[in-house]
Symmetry: D2
Subunit: 322 residues, 4 copies
């Protein structure tokens, strides 16, 4: 079958390790199932893999891709949950299983005509979502879903500040949060990105580091070092920072005194459970909200999609179709 | 000032105790404030008061009405929180204060040109909501908000069954729940009410007692005895019934074995906190959703509004304006 | 191997179905493990099984017994978790898996020289507990642990009322709750049982239905119908009933008005997770508290233990040793 | 009345600002009450006050002291809750009221013959506790209570690591945690303090920074910078750091990647609510555990107690009696 593969690791020139071409048909272990991929979506994770983050050379070649929607052998339309883990080993949450992995880390990923996953990783695709839309959900949107609806502890109508409004998860946070009735505020360093955040539904936008009109209930962090001091200062007593990334660096001064004295919480989050992916798909179905897609390309043009992601020029998800 | 008052209690002929006319200007205790009422909304609570439920004869005459929006002495547009209680006495929640009351139970209510309440019971009215819309929020919609967003423990995308889809809180549950992305299912005994529930946003509707296509995460109970057995049987293991009323009777067999064996929870709820009312108003502002209003009448025609509520012919809130 | 088996179901004469004798050595499926039983403990569940509750005739003969401690094939001392279920199928909790069962319902139980269970059902036995003590934990004490420390939502120092203080779970609740610093109150119909509850650590005891000196934070229900009205009336606003049984009947009037108006919760609970069994064993180890044992008998005298349980004459757990 | 007062602020020589002598009888505002102090206990907070932390020169002279037990005007034995705050202003928690203060910050403290506090700040003193013991609870022990039983999210039997085992809160954590059945592990830089931690009930002790035999459920942080990296590395996936102080510095690198990738939480905590103080007192009563007291001195020898606290030579609470 045709697939997009990491054939070599190169931290400086990730694209050089990308290979497109025929790969042997995957075997299907007991309890696993082969999904015919109808659409897959790119994430920064795929570029990180080519740089060797989370993917070691001894596992190459590895088919890339975490996100996919397609059909199972019975013809059911499905979304693929990207977390390969066991809730029994993770205190009831497969993302806490110490041996969990994401598709394309230990098992071949979704940028192929077929992907093989444990049967329980299949989630029904609502008919109202296209394959392209459904393929955008399992990573960035699922991460945002869990941050908003499980980890934030906030109730609709609360004020949620998204730091660095232009990233993949940040975009998903603004879209999902506004749809669910949170008051979403966003920051960014550039006027163009603030304008974009406003178009996505942010109630108010601010230049990075700006003093806010009032303190917020929750801060969503994906930036880290560059925004940490501002995040800590923007919260009400008892407020919460939910963090899923630290693209600008992960070692800001922790500001522990402020954390304990105003009784803040800092809550780490990554990905989400299968049950949460089911609910995310239904949330889209019920509200009519859809992931924002930048462009759809055939799998054979995956190199262009990777180049766009590295350049950071996309506005929305980059989708590939076999 | 002009006001609508309970002058006499009559359980069988509640309307006979209703009096409209001039009342003395209310005094304003320290820390309280006089609100100029711009709109008020009826609830079944007002009819119950005339029947003597929650209102004893020695407190008469009592101005009726729990819900209001208006302006404070500085001209700010405000919504009035109807719960007179102290969080310090209620384990952090004023609705758990053993001495709490609702407006019109111990202190004069909102069906008047002015209502006097503790200053902290004022909540900012978003400009996007009219006074008439804002006046609908503090009782039925706040009750629904708390049931959905605090008590249900559910995340958006979960399936929520509303028993008896036509009541005031049930209507609010369908509207708020659908807006926030829950999959709302509803039951009723009449086809017309099911049709109405569907128009309000219910994803699927069922005749009362019907077998559902799958078990649900949460059941919202306002009916009680007539639907209890069905509610208990409709839940997934670990599911939850949230209950705020029992209009058909409160003494169904409790079905304790089913409750413990499938690890269900039954969670009582009534009204909501001031903070939740703030969030509810913002939720309406951010999502664009609005309470459904049946009709707006001048305060002087309050008797017609009471008659409509007793007849049960309204479709939405009955609003009065001084 | 020697085992105690349900050979026949008889609702009226449960003992008549009990058979002691040689049974074939059990097979060990992949991922399962054979435990050499060193001690096992009786529960009412075992008598219910002989009456046909939870055990159908087509599964006979079935080795009885849920509770055990013993050694695994590597010689490690282990406690056996009795719930055969999958957290992935139960929203993160194996006791919510719709296909879960207890040992002796679908798979042979613990009243035998060897019992075969999934490897993850083994929990390390602290050296400080004897096999006899450890064998008492997996059913009654685990149920009590979960009710107190997960389901009650109470913090140490809260007041917890145990209805019907003499049952197996009720005894465990008093012992564990008092040890952890809850203020345990207990009710019973007989003075002797109240005296016993006091000896176990109850802070105050009351005849069934007595008016309490103050309202409590939590009521623990194992009795059901006979105590329900009292339970509902004994709680503070916002209080919680945790229920794991209803020996006197499961159909008292539900008292829904009181439930919603004072915002009570009724929380069903049964058994506990493997992780909770690990913590329960450590809790015993750290605090020095031990299950109360009535008597230890060789497996060959199991009939006497069953007879004692049916007569209700025991004071503590009935332990069997192969 | 006789009192111990901060008369001057001196960051370098705190003792120089301490004055003992007669002070005017305090006035008693409406809703407040005068408590006859029977015992009071020192905290580092009192030394910080003399250094000017949380106490500005314009508020001098200020009677020092947060902790006290005594009798109210009706002769009831009471413990004084040190947090002057309003749950209505703090989202249901008076410690989140932005205008809250501790006794001796805005209102005169407890190192005096009488202290005046809001009536609701009185908590019943269990007869089983002496005044000296009860006076130790409201600050260090209440802080530990809330960290363990509200903020940690852990259940008895969980493993809890206390960093820096010798401080006032750390000592209280070990004592309360062990009593309630947690497996308490502790670290310190000196062998003597580890020995002491073991005597207090720590299950295992480790030199600071040591590799632990297994990862823990919760880390209790009072040290901050010196132990942060170790704390973050010592937790299971999904684990939690609860922090109430940062005596070694508050600006370690935050390690955000580890926080989000292993889904840790960092939860700030300070003091506790009145309701928690009630439960803490009952917890002591029910379990028999008592605060560890280093010494009891008459109020007139307060200077010696302050000197001991600055020297750090005490082993337990320093109690003063008028």
């Amino acid at each position: 079958m045709f697939a997009v593969t990491a054939a070599r690791i190169d931290a400086d020139d990730p694209l050089s390790g990308l290979e497109l071409g025929e790969r042997p048909e995957p075997e299907v272990p007991d309890g696993w199932v082969s999904v015919t991929v109808r659409a897959a979506a790119l994430n920064h994770h795929d570029v990180f893999s080519l740089r060797g983050v989370g993917l070691s050379a001894d596992r190459l070649p590895m088919v890339l891709g975490c996100d996919a929607a397609g059909t199972d052998p019975d013809g059911n339309e499905v979304i693929v949950h990207a977390v390969i883990g066991d809730a029994n080993a993770g205190d009831g949450d497969e993302t806490l299983d110490p041996r969990r992995s994401l598709l394309s880390e230990r098992y071949d990923g979704t940028f192929a005509e077929r992907v093989v996953v444990p049967r329980r990783n299949l989630v029904p695709k609502p008919a109202a979502l296209s394959f392209e839309q459904a393929a955008c959900l399992p990573t960035a949107y699922l991460t945002a879903y869990r941050m908003l609806f499980e980890k934030s502890g906030a109730q609709p109508g609360s004020t949620v500040l998204v730091q660095g409004a232009s990233g993949g998860v940040a975009t998903a946070l603004i879209i999902l949060g506004r749809t669910a009735g949170f008051r979403m505020w966003a920051t960014s360093r550039t006027e163009a990105k603030l304008e974009r955040a406003r178009e996505l539904g942010a109630d108010q936008v601010f230049p990075s580091g700006a003093r806010l009109p009032e303190r917020v209930d929750v801060v969503m962090e994906t930036v880290g070092q560059a925004t940490w001091a501002h995040s800590v200062r923007s919260l009400k007593p008892g407020g919460r920072i939910v963090i899923c990334g630290a693209t600008s660096g992960d070692a800001p001064p922790a500001e522990l005194t402020r954390v304990f004295y105003t009784q803040l919480s800092v809550v780490g989050s990554t990905m989400g459970t299968r049950d949460q992916l089911v609910r995310l798909a239904r949330f889209c179905e019920q509200t009519g909200v859809r992931p924002v897609i930048d462009s759809v390309r055939p799998l054979a043009q995956a190199r262009d999609a990777f180049a766009a992601m590295i350049a950071g020029t996309q506005a929305g998800k980059l989708v590939l179709t076999p």
